[in-house]
């Protein structure tokens, strides 16, 4: 459905490499996530795939059409929601939707079944100007607009950035239902916790793909046992852990600190616990855990 082969993009006459020989493939009907921080090259990749940006090297195709030569055809077949929710702020919800429907030579009526579930949530505000909607509502409207012509591939560039947790959850539920309809979805996000909601993911950093697989496989590939530690004084604990010789890496992670050991012999855990107690830590909790995608990302970044 979507293939990239050694795609590169540079800016400022080659001084800045945004995308560095990226290759991956997205299968038909797949929900594929591009996970990485701002500036990793996600938007450049999306823009090249949606034909609004020319690659500096490599090939890419969407639905078997080359992104450079087949741009006219691709533009008819895909749906695109750029990073900034691209709505007309001074048009109402209804006007926006009608405008985008007409733009794609269709009507809201014709494809209403596809957007119905999402649209009913914003329908009560259909005479409101898009600029006056909350972030979550704008995001829903933008999704409706990107879907209105029943695209075969949907590109969503950071649809959940700046949107609160509740709206983010709702949004991912919507994507799952769209997937059922057979639409191939490419979504990018800087939020690592959203990775597990995709079928396959690519972890991207500084224009390079660090890993591509299912979230479960990426987690499984974590090279060493990972532990979570907690005590009463978390910030002091972090400092102390970093000074321990047996500790290989240690970083804060929510209510715990995550750490790996230099060697994973049976005695490292009790001895660390003892050392921490000596340093005055109370209520120490130390357990082995399954890594999250964020742990994997950190591990990959550091190597």
């Amino acid at each position: 459905m979507v293939t990239l082969e050694n795609i590169s993009k540079t800016y400022n006459e080659g001084a800045l490499t945004a995308v560095d020989k990226v290759s991956f493939e997205v299968k038909k009907g797949e929900l594929f996530g591009l996970i990485g921080p701002d500036g990793a090259g996600k938007t450049s990749i999306f823009r090249m795939l949606t034909t609004v940006l020319l690659p500096d090297g490599g090939n890419a195709s969407v639905n078997g059409l080359d992104v450079v030569t087949g741009y006219k055809e691709i533009r008819k077949q895909v749906g695109y929601m750029p990073g900034k929710f691209s709505l007309y702020q001074d048009l109402t919800v209804e006007e926006n939707l009608n405008f985008f429907a007409t733009l794609f030579n269709t009507t809201v009526k014709e494809n209403y079944d596809l957007i119905k579930e999402i649209y009913v949530q914003i329908e009560p505000f259909k005479t409101r100007k898009a600029g006056k909607l909350s972030g979550g509502m704008k995001q829903k409207l933008a999704l409706c607009c990107a879907l209105i012509h029943r695209p075969t591939v949907l590109f969503l560039d950071e649809p959940t950035t700046g949107v609160d947790t509740v709206s983010r959850k709702e949004f991912w539920d919507m994507l799952k239902r769209l997937k059922v309809q057979g639409i191939t979805i490419l979504v990018s996000t800087p939020y690592m916790d959203e990775a597990t909601l995709c079928e396959r993911i690519a972890l991207i950093q500084s224009g390079k793909i660090m890993s591509i697989d299912t979230p479960a496989a990426i987690i499984k590939a974590y090279p060493e046992p990972l532990f979570a530690v907690k005590s009463e004084k978390m910030s002091v604990l972090l400092q102390d852990l970093r000074k321990q010789e047996s500790v290989k890496s240690c970083f804060a992670f929510g209510e715990y600190h995550h750490l790996t050991f230099q060697e994973n012999s049976p005695e490292v855990q009790p001895s660390l616990r003892k050392n921490l107690e000596k340093l005055g830590h109370a209520a120490i909790e130390l357990k082995e855990i399954t890594p999250t995608i964020e742990d994997c990302f950190i591990q990959l970044m550091n190597h």
Binding site: R75, K76, S86
Partner: protein, 368 residues
Amino acid sequence: MKQFFTFVRKEFYHVFRDRKTLLMLFGLPIAQILLFGFALTNEIKDSKIVVVDYANDPASREITQKLAASDQFELQSSLMSHREIEAAFRKGVVNLAVVFPANFNSDLLAQNSAQIQVIADASDPNKANTLTNYVNNILRDYQQERVNETQLPYQIQPEIRMLYNPELKGATNFVPGVMALVLVLICVLMTSISIVREKENGTMEVLLVSPFNPFLVIISKAVPYFVLSLFNLTVILLMSIFFMGLPFEGSLLLFYAESSLLIIAALSLGLLISNSTDSQQTAMLIALMGMMIPTMLFTGFMFPIENMPMPLRIISNVVPSKWYYIIVKSIMIKGLGFSAIWKETLILVGMTAFFLFVSFKKFKIRLA
């Protein structure tokens, strides 16, 4: 086609929902007319003059009275000496002085001719010229009366007629200029800003990733501003006819056809600007600096082009509004037909075609 109309309608929504745009669109022409009509007029009223009357006889008094009665002059005092005049000029409290020599009336009676001295402050040469012309007119009037009284058999009187603009009204000059200015400004500014705004909002990306032909995006953006510009033009035309008392001698059809030509040239310039910038501020700056200033300077309605140095006169030829200005003056004021303005029209057509060609050529179907 339906796509196209939807797009045009959307553009109109943008215009009518944004107060700033509306104000600019409809406030600008009115403000310009008022500005040029009343504040920046080159008609001179109530200029301060002094009369130094060494004669103090019936003739000098009568002329002095006539000067005082005129709208153009405000008589300051009649009791100054030559030396005082010089001081008054230096201080700038006086613009013009009229000096009657002694024996003015008797000279006039005896020799049928007499000398009169008119001194003007020529630091503003245009103004000095205008003022001395006013004095000449008054003197001529006076002579005329005297000729009638004495009933000499005949006397040859030079008669100067001010062609097309007998009252020397500034309006005939500036109205076509304001038309050119408003059309160029509105079209260039509005198209470039409205396209760049889509880029800023990210909507341009979505428009590009759609089956809609990118060229149609541009054309459907141009249509509303084309229509609004014609509306603006009509407003200016009606204002100048009904409030300024300007004539409209020529063909209305020809006038609108020529105006459309300028509008298209301006729209393609706006498109060209929007291609080379991504921010509304930059677009606005380029449009204002690059369009307004040359239009004001080189159209000919503020500063006569004939008086400019050669290099500037040459530059003025590439400013489309200069040609439009000549065309409109010919149609409106002189009532001339196409045969008189075909050359200017041809130049304007050439420019429009060039701008259109370049802007379409440079139009990007991608982001970068």
